[in-house]
Symmetry: C2
Subunit: 390 residues, 2 copies
């Protein structure tokens, strides 16, 4: 059965153009085998284009990876998208209001999942079950209001999507849903609206991607301080909707600490605090921000967000300690908490995790280059029994 594709004014989204359809990250960046040695392709990262001679032997020895056991992904064209349930009144309304949309399979599939391992395995080897029937791309809060009102009027389900890196299954369509499901993609609402240099605030549209927000703030001498692992692909609105945590939360706080104001379009209207000035704290009454935070798109569409911003640090300094046992490391963390002297980021790794990290290093770098003396190496390995990939 051939689907009649209905689409209007579809934007050229990075999601559809440069991201893997069946995995994490960019099309051009992947681990490959070259003459039996693992290499990372592309040119986006420091590690891009370099060989990792320790990668294969370590994973073979420790994780049980067998290089001759391959599980190639099915082709994208093997994935059969179910026929969309078109709500024609809704689609006609969108067209009449100049709101971009598409019911093409590739747009719907790309917005049907998050990025859990389960999601990716299903894309590579599984079948599509219930997926969105339509994708819309509003370009303003006013358009979001129209989409939500129309969804209400015509009995359409909305699932908002930001960066699509969700690991909470919030993008999954309920299999029993008979109404038309509309994926509301925030991709083109990606602008910084203003930066307040006096109060260290920034307001942006919720669809802005973390790395874009951070790059623009950096250019003005600021950082947003929020650095989830997904920052390259996740969106500001998604951070709020998922109550995200960042790697530098010790210094800057988690997203709930950074959030100052947020607009959410709901079926009953737009929720926003009526503060003429952007006050940093309101002590009267419950704080509905904390109902929006973590709402995962179930209560409305986050359209605009005001966050705290911070001057870029003058210095970034990295360091490491080696503890005799993992327990000593835990004690160290407790002492740091007690003395309230946390650096921006602090992580405790066991020896195995450390070695895996070493196995991912490129051939031109190694842990030992960062150790100042051979004596330190001998002390750690011979005296303390710390295992390394030399």
């Amino acid at each position: 059965m051939a689907t009649h594709v209905q689409q209007f004014n579809v934007p050229q989204c990075y999601r559809d153009k440069i991201l893997k359809w069946n995995g994490w990250g960019y099309n051009d960046s992947a681990f490959i085998l070259e003459n039996g040695v693992v290499k990372f392709t592309g040119s986006r990262y420091d590690m891009s284009g370099t060989k990792m001679p320790q990668f294969r032997p370590w994973f073979e020895a420790n994780i049980g990876v067998r290089i001759d056991y391959v599980t190639p992904s099915q082709a994208r064209t093997d994935l059969i998208a179910p026929e969309p349930i078109n709500n024609q009144e809704f689609i006609d309304y969108l067209r009449a209001n100049d709101i971009a949309y598409s019911n093409a399979a590739q747009h719907r599939i790309a917005r049907s999942h998050g990025h859990t391992v389960h999601d990716i395995v299903r894309l590579r080897h599984g079948k599509l079950e219930r997926i969105p029937d339509l994708v819309v791309w509003p370009n303003s809060e006013q358009q979001v209001v129209k989409v939500v009102e129309a969804a209400n009027q015509f009995n359409v389900v909305i699932i908002p999507i930001g960066g699509g890196t969700s690991v909470s299954n919030a993008l999954e369509c309920p299999s029993e849903e008979k109404r038309s499901i509309c994926s509301l993609d925030m991709a083109i609402m990606d602008k910084i609206l203003w930066i307040d240099d006096s109060n260290f605030l920034c307001r942006a549209q919720a669809g802005i991607i973390g790395q874009s927000l951070e790059r623009q703030l950096n250019a003005k001498g600021y950082t947003c301080g929020h650095e989830p692992d997904s920052i390259e692909f996740s969106s500001l609105g998604g951070w709020v909707a998922t109550r995200a945590s960042g790697m530098k939360k010790n210094k800057y706080g988690n997203i709930e600490d950074l959030l100052v104001h947020v607009n959410m379009v709901t079926a009953k209207g737009v929720i926003r605090k009526h503060c003429q000035v952007e006050v940093p704290r309101i002590s009267s009454g419950p704080d509905l921000h904390h109902v929006i935070l973590g709402s995962e798109g179930t209560l409305g569409v986050i359209t605009e967000v005001t966050i705290k911003i911070f001057p870029l640090p003058e210095v970034k300094k990295y360091g490491s300690f080696v503890f005799p046992t993992f327990g000593h490391g835990v004690d160290f963390f407790r002492e740091v908490a007690k003395q309230q002297c946390q650096p921006a980021s602090l992580r405790l790794m066991d020896n195995e995790q450390f070695m895996m990290g070493q196995a991912l290093k490129s051939e031109v770098k190694s842990f030992w280059e960062s150790l100042s003396t051979k004596l330190a190496k001998i002390y750690l390995t011979k005296w303390k029994g710390f295992k390394v990939i030399s």
Copy 2:
């Protein structure tokens, strides 16, 4: 009309015994005139028992206070409490369940108001309008549950009260309320339940008063870090219910930052997070704590609270800067915010407020003793035009 007083097992509360019925604080601590000089009575504070020779002249000259213009409070006995609306089924239920209560006028009056200037003026010069009909003193969360269930069953209104220092009118009874109004006093639920030295947490019953909590924590080397102006009289549960801010929030955070867990008894059951361990943060879903925070007693009764605690600071250091203009001070505050180098507390005062503070000093202390040299005094007053009470 003589009221038949119904009471059972009424506890001896500090509120009824040692606090002013018509003003802030302790009965024994007040400003009086002695030979024309202002003196602070009692022995509770550093300033207690000392004379303040600058107090009267400064207030006469700057605030227009006239010492011969007096507005004495009416006597407590002049305040006529309205007849209580007794819900006898409810009262009988309390008695049958060993829950302390009283409908005596003095207990009801003391729990009919907060501590706004308006509240105090009304006590001193006004009439009582609608006040609670009954006071109950549950001694456990189980008793709170029983009171709330019975209120639901017998159609009684509950207004919870902690320290009674509310400035939000949350303790005011709606004048049109025809149902029996029950003031649920948390006074005897005032115990610390446990302190967790590993995770720096403390769980206490919500009725514990700030100074009692802090004194007990101090004895174990901790501080709760929350220091509202009302800390002598306000309660832990009240801090949560009013979303309180403390003077040292720069270092320790406001109550919403300190709150880790809370139990609230509602008409539909007890709300609490089901975490077996006291996890510091939950990223999934909306955070109902922030609906409880600031709920002002309207949604339920806060019974138990887990807060973060901190090691006592090794050093407390105080200091001051003098700015050429108020605007320079504001700029300084912005720069401190930018550089994120806030001390625990930081306040900007204008010259008038500074002088009022000086006027409150006792005769044996003065600002100038804290200035290291006479040169500094001359520099500030002659060169910079800074006004002081010398």
